[in-house]
Amino acid sequence: MTAPLLKLENISKRFRVGNKELAAVNDVSLDVAAGETLGIVGESGCGKSTLGRMILRLTDPSDGAITFDGRDITRLSKRAMRPLRRDIQIVFQDPYASLNPRMKVGEIVAEPLVNIGMKRAEIAARVAEVLKVVGLPAESADRYPHAFSGGQRQRIGIARALAVKPRLIVCDEAVSALDVSVQAQVLTLLRDIQRETGVTFVFISHNLGVVRFLCHRIAVLYLGRVVEIGTEAQLFESPQHPYTQALLSAIPEAGAGRRGRIPVPSGEIPNPINPPPGCPFHLRCPRVQDRCRSEIPTLVSDAGGQAVACHFPGADADSPHQTLEDKRMTEGEAQ
């Protein structure tokens, strides 16, 4: 196997809150291969955005190491990071807040090119090129962000990220603020860009449908920890962690015959300032046993590369989602 483009090893981030400590990200290890899309999913406060910011070194990890393309970037100074800004870019959630309203779109997209010292003549050509890639007319360059809809603004944000030909783009809830029909347009755009340029995505989202469409592998976070990680097929067809199963079954899916109450874990996500001892999910877990209340489960990988942090992993008998084995059996019967 080739070396991963991005490697996070035992990354933690702790914030001081008053005289207490909040562990937003706790001992997270992840690999991202070149050209793949890694999804990071979880509910509010699970640490997914903090993780994204650490990959960009917008926030410094408290512990652990970040390696990009074989180079340890964990402690690089701002100055030393600067050349790497060309390789790692970000697309933010809010297309209304992440574009400077007083800059023309052409200037917004050109800014990262200026930062890397590209020549003026080349900049204009590159701006025109990326605007075309994201499906915006060339004359957009002379207009201000307010003249564009939410979907178009997100295209501008994507164009800005693409301008410097980065190798990795972190997308933090990049389609969450968009209407469904526009979301489909932007998701398709992101996928096509990856197919053409081979760019790597870390795609942070709370929307599991969106993640399934775009991602090759997915990590599920809960209270700052990875509770499960696997390929798209592994995670959606045979989730092993009770939290992954709960998340999947809580999504209301469009379709007939789905009216009624959804089985869902009671309670809410605990306060990260005061996390429960043992497994972070044990307060809400239908499978909880004594061991879960005291011992934090470690992430254990199976032969197929699916890893789960649970003392009692396995398919959920009550889940509407079938395990792979069930599915093969029913398909076999049908034939």
């Binding site: 509910e43 509010s44 809809s149 939410g150 979907g151 209407d179 469904v180 029909s181 526009v182 979301q183 489909a184 347009q185 998701l187 398709t188 709370h206 929307n207 599991l208 449908g209 969106v210 993640v211 399934r212 469409f213 775009l214 798209e232 097929a233 959606f236 709960a246 998340l247 999947l248 809580a250 999504i251 209301p252 899916e253 469009a254 379709g255 007939a256 015959g257 789905r258 009216r259 009624g260 109450r261 959804i262 869902v264 874990p265 009671s266 809410e268 996500i269 989602h321």
Partner: protein
């Protein structure tokens, strides 16, 4: 008898460029004990519809034609004072952002009490007891303690439960929920939707649920109203929308939702975006984006044509809807 009966409702807003029509000829109804989902994307007019019902259009909004009847009472001709008397006991509303709808400097228990005493629903002492009962009923642990909390001490899910308790305080016959779970995490969303279903059964109220999320509609709506560009474009029983939607917009929109239960290789793209109010094209408001459009679609607004039992679609070509698969 119909609980809510909206017929031919049109609403305009005054702007610097003159009046802009944001709702045109909107008709649908809600029966007691029924959940009607009103679904649409930004700018479809779904929220304006609910504000018109509640009498909350403000100074710049005006109902230009049509009727809104609640339990047989015509609302469009009532004074502000008469409407205020109905808000609470007859109709109540919960909003998307529970954080901004609650008073930040008043204890949440007092806010529920106030909802009752303001309408002289019951004496203050009883209101206090009922407030704690309601908090318990909407799933707030240790309600007698939490009643003393201020909104900022509660999570988003808990604040939405308080909003529901306030809305239910005077046992309204109609609950309007405008994107009640959009700001919430998916496991909390499921809890709140389950709660709305439980309360609907318990109190027999009718629910008008406004959402952009077809999944939410599938889970809780008995009937569905799809809005686009300030008009109702499709109206049907809940399941019929998903099995045989009769309008090209609804059908394409449903297919463009990324699903978590099966992997899609492609998402169909609806080209363009919804036009803003005041810039709707002539004829069918969707025709510029519609793969099935023909010349007539640009000339006149299609009526709500019957597409099946209790099923209507605002489309000239609804009988040929299955051709969409080949075109899209």
């Amino acid at each position: 008898m119909k609980l809510l009966d909206i017929s031919g409702l049109s609403v305009s807003f005054n702007t610097l460029r003159g009046p802009v029509e944001v709702l045109q000829d909107v008709s649908f109804d809600v029966m007691p004990g029924e959940v009607v989902g009103v679904v649409g994307e930004s700018g479809s007019g779904k929220s304006v519809t609910s504000l018109a019902i509640m009498g909350l259009l403000g100074h710049s909004g005006k109902i230009t034609s049509g009727n809104i009847a609640l339990s047989g009472t015509e609302l469009t001709t009532l004074s502000e004072e008469e409407l205020r008397a109905l808000r609470g006991p007859e109709m109540a509303m919960i909003f998307q952002e529970p954080g901004t709808s609650l008073n930040p400097v008043q204890r949440v228990g007092d806010q529920i009490v106030e909802a009752m005493t303001e309408h002289a629903f019951c004496p203050p002492a009883e209101a206090r007891r009922r407030a704690v009962e309601l908090m318990d009923r909407v799933g707030i642990p240790a309600p007698d303690l939490r009643a003393r909390d201020y909104p900022h001490q509660l999570s988003g899910g808990m604040k939405q439960r308080i909003m529901i308790a306030i809305a239910l305080a005077c046992r309204p016959k109609l609950l309007i929920a405008d994107e009640p779970t959009t700001a919430l995490d998916v496991t909390i969303q499921a809890q709140i939707l389950n709660l709305i279903l439980d309360l609907k059964d318990e109190f027999g109220m009718g629910v008008m649920l406004i959402t952009h999320d077809m999944g939410v509609v599938a889970q809780i709506a008995d009937r569905v109203v799809v809005m686009y560009g300030g008009q109702v474009v499709e109206r049907s029983e809940g399941d019929a929308l998903f099995t045989r939607s009769a309008h090209p917009y609804s059908r394409l929109l449903l297919r463009s939702i990324p699903s978590a239960s099966q992997r899609q290789d492609d998402l169909p793209i609806i080209k363009g975006t919804m036009p803003a109010a005041g810039r709707f094209p002539d004829g069918c408001r969707f025709h510029e984006r519609c793969p099935m459009a023909m010349a007539a679609c640009a000339l006149s607004v299609p009526p709500l044509n019957e597409a099946g039992p209790a099923h209507f679609a605002r489309c000239f070509r609804t009988e040929a809807i299955d051709e969409l698969e080949a075109l899209a």
